[in-house]
Amino acid sequence: MQKISPLRSSIEAFNKFKALRANKTDKAQKTEQKAQTNPFGITFKGNMIQMDVFEKTQKTEKAMSPSLKERLQNTGKLLASAWVGTINKFSSFKTNAIAFGNKLKDNTIAFGHKLKEIGNTKVEFDVFKYNVSRLQNQPVSELKSLLANELQGVSNE
C-alpha cells in the first residue's frame, strides 16, 4: 500500500475541489446563458444571482415603474382637470361678463327710453302755476285760454 503523504493528499483534494468548482461554474454559466437573466455575472456572497432573484427585481421594477407612470398619468390628469377647470372658469366668467354687458345695455336703453318719455311729457310744477292768488293777477284772456284748454280735454275725453 502506497503511503499518502499529507501534502499530496492535500493537493489532490485541492484539485478535486477545483474540478468541482469548474463544473459548477460551467453549469452556472450555461444556466445563465439559457435564462439570460444575469448577463453581467453578478454575484451575491459568492453565489451567482439566479433568475428568481432578478424576477424579484423585475417585480420590484414593475412595482416601481407603474407607480411612476401612474404618477405621471395622475399629474397629467391633474393638469388636465386643472386646465378644464380653468376653461370652465373662463367660460363662466365669459358668460357672466356677456350677461352683465347685456344687462348694462338693456338698462341703458331703458334709461334712454325713460329720458325720452320724460322729454316728451311736460313736467309742469303746476303747484305754483295754478295757484289761485297767482291766477287772480293774470289777465282774463289768459285765464279764459287756460280754462278752455282744460275743458277741451274734457270734451275730447
Partner: protein, 120 residues
C-alpha cells in the same frame, strides 16, 4: 282734466275784478256739460255778488238756480243763502218774479226769495 286746476281757474275768475271774467264764466262754465264745472261756476258767480253775475244765475233758464241738475240748482241756492249782502240778489229775484216771461223761472225765484227771507 285736472279738476284742481279747473277749480283754481274758476275760483280765480270768480275773484277777478275784471267784468270780463263774468262773460268767460258764463261762456265756458255755465255751458259746460259737466255738473261739477257748472256747480263751481255758479258758486263763483254768486260769490261775486254783482248785478250781472247774479242776474245770470237767477234769470237765465237752465243756469244757476234754474239748472236742470238739482245738485247744481241747490248749490246755487245755498250759495245765495250764504251771501252776507243779499240786497242785490233779492232785488233781482223780485224783478224776475214780476217781469220774467217763464212761469217756471218765476216760481223758482219766488221759492228762493222765500228761503232767503226766512234765512235772513
Amino acid at each position: 282734466m285736472n279738476s284742481r286746476r279747473v277749480r283754481n281757474i274758476i275760483e280765480a275768475l270768480g275773484k277777478h275784478k275784471d267784468e270780463e271774467s263774468i262773460q268767460v264764466l258764463n261762456e265756458l262754465g255755465t255751458n259746460c256739460p259737466i255738473d261739477e264745472i257748472r256747480e263751481l261756476t255758479s258758486k263763483a258767480l254768486i260769490r261775486k255778488n254783482t248785478h250781472s253775475a247774479l242776474e245770470l244765475m237767477i234769470v237765465n233758464k237752465g243756469k244757476g238756480i234754474n239748472d236742470l241738475s238739482a245738485r247744481v240748482a241747490m248749490c246755487a241756492i245755498n250759495e245765495l243763502l250764504a251771501l252776507k249782502d243779499k240786497q242785490e240778489a233779492i232785488k233781482i229775484l223780485d224783478d224776475t218774479i214780476n217781469m220774467h216771461s217763464e212761469k217756471e223761472v218765476q216760481d223758482t225765484a219766488r221759492s228762493v226769495k222765500a228761503l232767503m227771507s226766512f234765512s235772513s
